[in-house]
């Protein structure tokens, strides 16, 4: 998943190439597959509706990533409201997965990341999962480059502390 300099021909092409990666990005945010798939489908529908009015088709992937993250935020917000009244949403993907030795270490890291504030999680996922450069992250989240780097360093510091406390 590199930021595409080449303009995609249509929504379908984007979907074929990026849907799976975007679903995984959404899963890192919301924790479960079905919701992540819905979020991504929704984002593509939104893009489909706006395709003609898109100023720069090469920026479509950036648009999609931010649409996916926005919709993940809505999902999490709705869940937060719902969990005030009933059991919180339980099993995120990272808690159930492999119980192998390195699996445990990995899920510890992901569980700690899940406890970070929303924007810090988004920045970490875009930076370390999607491998995006700072500029692209700034465009995706519509924040300045300075905010990206300060958020990243704050996220790393907070994460280091969480992991240290856990051990």
């Amino acid at each position: 998943m590199v930021s595409s300099a080449r303009a995609p021909a249509d929504v379908e092409e984007l979907y074929r190439e990026h849907a799976v990666g975007l679903i995984r990005l959404a899963m890192l945010m919301v924790g479960d597959g079905p919701t992540a798939e819905d979020v991504v489908q929704d984002a593509f529908l939104g893009l489909h509706d706006r395709w003609r009015s898109l100023r720069d088709p090469a920026a479509a992937l950036t648009y999609l990533r931010s649409a996916v993250l926005n919709r993940c935020r809505s999902v999490l917000r709705r869940r937060a409201v719902a969990s005030r009244f009933r059991q919180p949403y339980q099993p995120p993907a990272w808690s159930a997965e492999d119980c192998a030795i390195d699996g445990q270490e990995r899920s510890a890291v992901l569980t700690a990341i899940a406890r970070l504030p929303r924007r810090q999680r988004e920045v970490l996922a875009l930076r370390f999962y999607c491998d995006l450069p700072e500029e692209e992250i700034a465009r995706t989240l519509r924040i300045s480059r300075g905010t990206v780097s300060s958020t990243t360093s704050r996220a790393l510091a907070a994460l280091a502390k969480l992991l240290e406390d856990a051990t």
């Binding site: 979907y15 679903i23 899963m27 890291v109």
Partner: protein, 191 residues
């Protein structure tokens, strides 16, 4: 001790095994709501007509014997056991994947897939499995169960079983082969 950044990247790499291996079909918004206002009465009228027709009796047809009743469970049950294996099922006449157009993979498509696999340095071994072999395998593996009774030759299509050098190469195979003409499904052993 590894750096925190490495640990994060490593943890995120878990996500590579999540979700579907190939994108699920893209849903489309077919009819806009304001159009539905006119569509609903029309559909109702059509429905009534259909019911009347059915009530007056249509010629009864026996269920089409060529359509298999269950493709799902058997195909689901037949997946690689190793993390570094990927099974590539080819299109057949009964594939549900719309990009197969209800036609079997052509000889040229098979050849192209085979060539592409052979060129990839990550691939250690390629095994061709025909529909007949897969059928026999399921018969044997699920002997005595319902699956063995209901499955018919051809329910599971031809496939390539690919063994990779490292489990992490699965991603490269998926990138190279999903959406290639003639490929129906790619099943990985990574979950």
């Amino acid at each position: 001790m590894r750096s925190l950044e490495e640990r994060i990247r490593d943890a995120y790499s878990m996500a590579d095994g999540w979700g579907p291996a190939v994108p699920p079909p893209l849903r489309r918004r077919s009819v806009r709501h304001h159009r539905l206002r006119f569509a609903a009465p029309l559909a109702a009228a059509a429905g009534v007509t259909a019911v009347v027709f059915l009530a007056t009796g249509l010629p009864h047809r026996a269920p089409d014997p060529t359509v298999p009743l269950s493709v799902g469970p058997a195909a689901e049950a037949l997946r690689p056991s190793e993390k570094n294996q990927v099974w590539i099922y080819l299109c057949s006449r009964i594939s549900a994947n719309p990009s197969c157009h209800r036609q079997g993979a052509t000889r040229a498509q098979r050849g192209a897939i085979d060539d592409a696999l052979k060129k990839m340095p990550q691939v250690r071994r390629i095994e061709r499995v025909t529909a007949e072999q897969a059928y026999a395998e399921v018969k044997k593996k699920f002997a005595g169960t319902k699956i063995a009774d209901t499955i018919r030759p051809g329910d599971i299509p031809d496939s390539f079983r690919v063994t990779l050098r490292r489990p992490t190469d699965v991603r490269a195979i998926l990138a190279a082969l999903s959406n290639r003409p003639g490929v129906d499904q790619i099943v990985t052993g990574s979950r």
